[in-house]
């Protein structure tokens, strides 16, 4: 009986529940245990979102994709085309077919997870418990997945693992090593002594580059976490005021876009080199000739 009363109290105190100072980040609350591993409230949200996405795409396309698309299939195709248009110039034509599944999944998954915090009930329905010193502690049943640091770290690790596989397959170890540590000076234009000195400098640059590559998962995860968690806190603290709701919608879209674009830039930096330069020069001359 007391649990039901607490539940009703929590639901009826929707607005006030966000007021206690939330600058410190609470750990995600474990809801139940599955095979000995804790299942937190944000994991439940991500399972629901993944299931909803799979079911939605399957329902939109029907049993088999047809050459003349139905309405649902045309919607999915326009989404795929939109993301492909966005990343193909960055990643390069050779890598685009292999990189597109990773980037498309990242974009749609992060987008829907960011927006899941805006659905009624996510993050607002939960258990309210009172500490001994009179502090209120509110534990929601479901929370957005990207508002949880575990979630964004997982996304960043998966994205960087996909990056590593893609550059290994499409650039190869030799090109990677040359890109990181290789001497990029032109041997014909530079005197021999300076050339060998530059080799040492480029080795040092390579080490700095390795450090910056190691920071990438950290920056990816923190950027996404900070934006979505901060937005969730803002909404809970200001009683879901309309301008902040719209801002959170926009920020969810922008952060998904930024995550996808950044991963594609990391892939394109190594994979998108000489093969596209000839095409770019050819295209550059065209508009001049047209005028």
């Amino acid at each position: 009986m007391s649990r039901v009363t607490k539940f009703i109290t929590a639901v009826s105190l929707l607005g006030l529940s966000g007021l206690p100072a939330r600058a410190a980040v609470d750990a995600s609350a474990t809801q139940f245990e599955l095979f000995g591993l804790p299942v937190t409230n944000s994991i439940i949200t991500t399972w629901a979102v993944a299931l909803a996405l799979i079911v939605a795409v399957r329902l939109a396309i029907g049993s088999k994709p047809t050459l003349v698309p139905s309405r649902g299939q045309a919607m999915v195709e326009s989404l795929i085309d939109g993301v492909r248009e966005l990343v193909e110039p960055i990643v390069g034509k050779r890598t685009a077919p292999a990189a597109l599944p990773l980037l498309l999944t990242l974009f749609v998954f992060i987008l829907i997870n960011n927006w899941s915090g805006l659905l009624p009930g996510v993050g607002t329905i939960g258990m309210e418990s009172h500490g001994e010193d009179g502090s209120h502690h509110f534990e929601p049943f479901i929370r957005p997945f990207t508002a949880d640091m575990n979630g964004t770290i997982a996304l960043a690790v998966v994205a960087m693992a996909g990056w590593a596989v893609l550059i290994w397959r499409f650039a190869g170890p030799k090109l990677i090593l040359h890109d990181l540590f290789g001497n990029k000076a032109n041997r014909n234009e530079v005197p021999a002594a300076i050339y060998y000195f530059l080799t040492l400098i480029f080795l040092a640059v390579g080490v700095i580059e390795i450090i910056s590559i190691a920071i990438r998962p950290v920056s990816l995860s923190f950027r996404l976490f900070g934006n979505v968690f901060g937005g969730e806190n803002l909404l809970h603290g200001t009683f879901f005021a309309f301008p902040f709701y719209f801002l959170e919608l926009l920020i969810g879209l922008v952060q998904a876009l930024v995550f996808t674009l950044l991963v594609s830039v990391y892939i394109g930096l190594i994979c998108n080199h000489g093969d596209d330069h000839a095409a770019e020069h050819g295209e550059d001359h065209e508009p001049h000739a047209a005028h």
Binding site: F225, G226, N227, G230, L257, V258
Partner: protein, 68 residues
């Protein structure tokens, strides 16, 4: 010098980090608006670039808030 005349309380490093991030975003916005004024037809491309730049500059504020 043991008499404390004034003290700065609170998170000074969060203030500096967030302030720098805000200035960075404002600079990107300035240049974006200027670029659209010079070439109004390119406003779509400029929008995409500037949003990307703003998100990257904003991220530093989140590092400071949650890492420090």
């Amino acid at each position: 010098m043991s008499l404390v005349i004034a003290a700065v309380e609170g998170s000074l490093h969060i203030a500096v980090g967030a302030g720098a991030a805000a200035i960075g975003v404002g600079l990107i916005g300035t240049k974006a608006v200027e670029a659209v004024g010079r070439n109004p037809g390119a406003s779509g491309k400029i929008l995409v670039q500037s949003i990307l730049g703003m998100a990257l500059a904003e991220a530093v504020a989140f590092y400071v808030i949650f890492l420090a």
